[in-house]
C-alpha cells in the first residue's frame, strides 16, 4: 500500500517514515529560501500535514512525492517571504538585522564568508533564488526543477544562469582576490 495512503488512513509509522525520508532536504530548502529557522520549521511541518488534508491535490500517478513536497515548500516559502516583506514595509524603521536582503555595507560587516554568501543568495529575486538553491544545494536535475515550478527546462536554465551571474556580481565586491583570478 502507498505510504501516503497508509498515513492518511491513520498509520503513524508510515507517516513518520515519510517524514524521515524527506524532511532534511525540505528543511534545508525552506531555510535557504526564507533565511529563518523558525519559518523553515513551520513550513516543513505544514508541508507534511498538508498530505493528510482531505482535499490534498497530491496524485502519485502524476507527480513523484519528492517533487510534490518540494513544490509545497516552495510555495509556502514564497508566501512567507512576501508576508515578511509586507510586515517590514509596515514597520516604521526596519532594522538590517531583520532584513533578508542585506545591503553591501552590512554584508561587509559580516566576518564569516558563509554569512556573506547567505546574504547574497537572499538578495536574489525569489524566481532565481529557488532555482539556484534547488540546483546547487539540492543537486536537483533541471528537468525536475522545471516540473516542480511548472516551467519549461529552458526557462529554468535561463533563470539559473541569471541567478548565478547576479551572485558573481554581488560576491565579487567581497572577494576581490577571487575576482582578480577569474
Amino acid at each position: 500500500m502507498d505510504s501516503v495512503l497508509s498515513a492518511r488512513s491513520g498509520d503513524e509509522a508510515a507517516f513518520l517514515q515519510l517524514f524521515d525520508d524527506h524532511h532534511q532536504p525540505l528543511y534545508r530548502f525552506a531555510y535557504r529560501m526564507t533565511g529563518s529557522a523558525a519559518d523553515a520549521e513551520d513550513i516543513v511541518q505544514e508541508c507534511f500535514l498538508e498530505l493528510l488534508r482531505p482535499g490534498c491535490s497530491y496524485d502519485s500517478a502524476r507527480t513523484p512525492l519528492r517533487t510534490y513536497l518540494f513544490g509545497v515548500v516552495r510555495n509556502q516559502s514564497v508566501k512567507r517571504i512576501q508576508r515578511n516583506a509586507r510586515e517590514m514595509d509596515q514597520s516604521i524603521e526596519p532594522t538590517a538585522a531583520h532584513s533578508p536582503a542585506l545591503s553591501p555595507e552590512s554584508l561587509a560587516l559580516h566576518a564569516e564568508l558563509k554569512d556573506m554568501v547567505a546574504g547574497a543568495v537572499m538578495q536574489l529575486p525569489e524566481t532565481q533564488r529557488d532555482v539556484l538553491i534547488l540546483a546547487h544545494y539540492e543537486q536537483m536535475p533541471l528537468a525536475e526543477i522545471a516540473r516542480l515550478l511548472e516551467l519549461e527546462p529552458a526557462a529554468v536554465k535561463s533563470r539559473l544562469q541569471r541567478g548565478r551571474a547576479r551572485l558573481k556580481e554581488i560576491l565579487a565586491a567581497y572577494a576581490p582576490g577571487l575576482e582578480q583570478r577569474s
Binding site: E41, V44, K114, L167
Partner: protein, 251 residues
C-alpha cells in the same frame, strides 16, 4: 569569478541542522488531525444531488396529481357547492385578434370568488405547472394573504401567461356588498346575463386602470362579466374580459 569559484563560495553556506523539535511537532500534528477526522461526523455523499432528486420527484408527483385532479384543492373540502359558473377570459392584444386564453370554473361564497379549476387552451400543461408552482410557493411562503378583519369580497380577474397565480380584485367588505345588493363603487348599469340580473359596478385598479364587474345578487355577488381596462382620464383600452358561458347547478 568563474563558475567553480562561485560554487566554492556557495558551498561555504553549510547545511542547517534540523531542529530536534520538528519531528515531535509533526507527530503531534498528525495525531491532532487524526483525532479531528475521527470525531468529525461522516457527511453523506452527494447530499445536494439527493435533495435535488427528491425535490424533482415531489414536483413530478404533484404535477401529475394536479393534472389528473384539477380540483385537488377541494377534494378534502366537505362544503357544498351551490352552483358553478364556466367562464372564459378573452385577451385583447394590441397587434392581434382577441382570443380566449383562459377558461375557469368558479362560484362565489360570501361574495368571495372560489376557483374550482382553470386551464389554458393553448397550453394544456400550463394549468398543472402553474398549480404545482402555486402549491410550492404557498408551501414555502404561506398563503401570502392575511385574513382581513372584515371578510373581503373578491372577483377573479385572470392571469397572463407570465404569472403563476390567478389574480383577483377586492370589491370591499363582503357583508356591505351583500347587503347593498352588490352595489359598490360606481354603479354604471344593470344587465341580465344568462338569466340573472346583474349590477355593473366600476372601480379603479391598483395599476392605474379600471375594472367593471357585473355582479349577480342572486349568485352571492358573483361576477358574471369582468372587464379590465388600462388608461386614465377617459381614455381606456380593453386588456381582457371575463365572460360567463354557462351556469351549472350545485353539487
Amino acid at each position: 569569478m568563474n563558475d567553480r569559484e562561485l560554487d566554492d563560495m556557495l558551498n561555504q553556506w553549510a547545511d542547517p541542522t534540523v531542529p530536534p523539535t520538528l519531528r515531535e511537532n509533526v507527530r503531534a500534528g498528525f495525531r491532532e488531525r487524526l483525532s479531528r477526522a475521527v470525531t468529525a461526523l461522516p457527511r453523506p455523499r452527494f447530499p445536494r444531488l439527493r435533495f435535488a432528486f427528491a425535490f424533482a420527484g415531489m414536483a413530478a408527483a404533484l404535477l401529475l396529481a394536479t393534472a389528473a385532479f384539477p380540483q385537488v384543492g377541494r377534494i378534502f373540502s366537505s362544503e357544498d357547492i351551490p352552483y358553478s359558473v364556466d367562464s372564459e377570459f378573452v385577451m385583447y392584444p394590441l397587434d392581434r385578434e382577441p382570443r380566449t386564453y383562459l377558461t375557469l370554473t368558479s362560484y362565489s361564497r360570501n361574495a368571495e370568488e372560489v376557483v374550482l379549476t382553470w386551464a389554458m387552451p393553448d397550453h394544456p400543461m400550463a394549468g398543472p405547472i402553474h398549480r404545482t408552482l402555486d402549491f410550492f410557493i404557498t408551501f414555502v411562503h404561506g398563503n401570502g394573504k392575511r385574513l382581513p378583519r372584515v371578510p373581503e369580497a373578491t372577483a377573479t380577474t385572470g392571469c397572463g401567461h407570465n404569472c403563476i397565480r390567478l389574480a383577483s380584485e377586492s370589491l370591499g367588505p363582503a357583508a356591505q356588498l351583500l347587503s347593498n345588493g352588490c352595489a359598490t363603487g360606481t354603479v354604471v348599469g344593470r344587465e341580465t346575463i344568462l338569466g340573472h340580473e346583474t349590477v355593473a359596478v366600476q372601480r379603479p385598479l391598483e395599476n392605474g386602470g379600471r375594472g367593471t364587474f357585473w355582479l349577480a345578487p342572486d349568485l352571492g355577488c358573483h361576477s358574471l362579466r369582468t372587464l379590465i381596462e388600462q388608461g386614465s382620464d377617459g381614455s381606456y383600452r380593453r386588456i381582457f374580459e371575463k365572460r360567463a358561458l354557462r351556469i351549472n347547478p350545485g353539487s
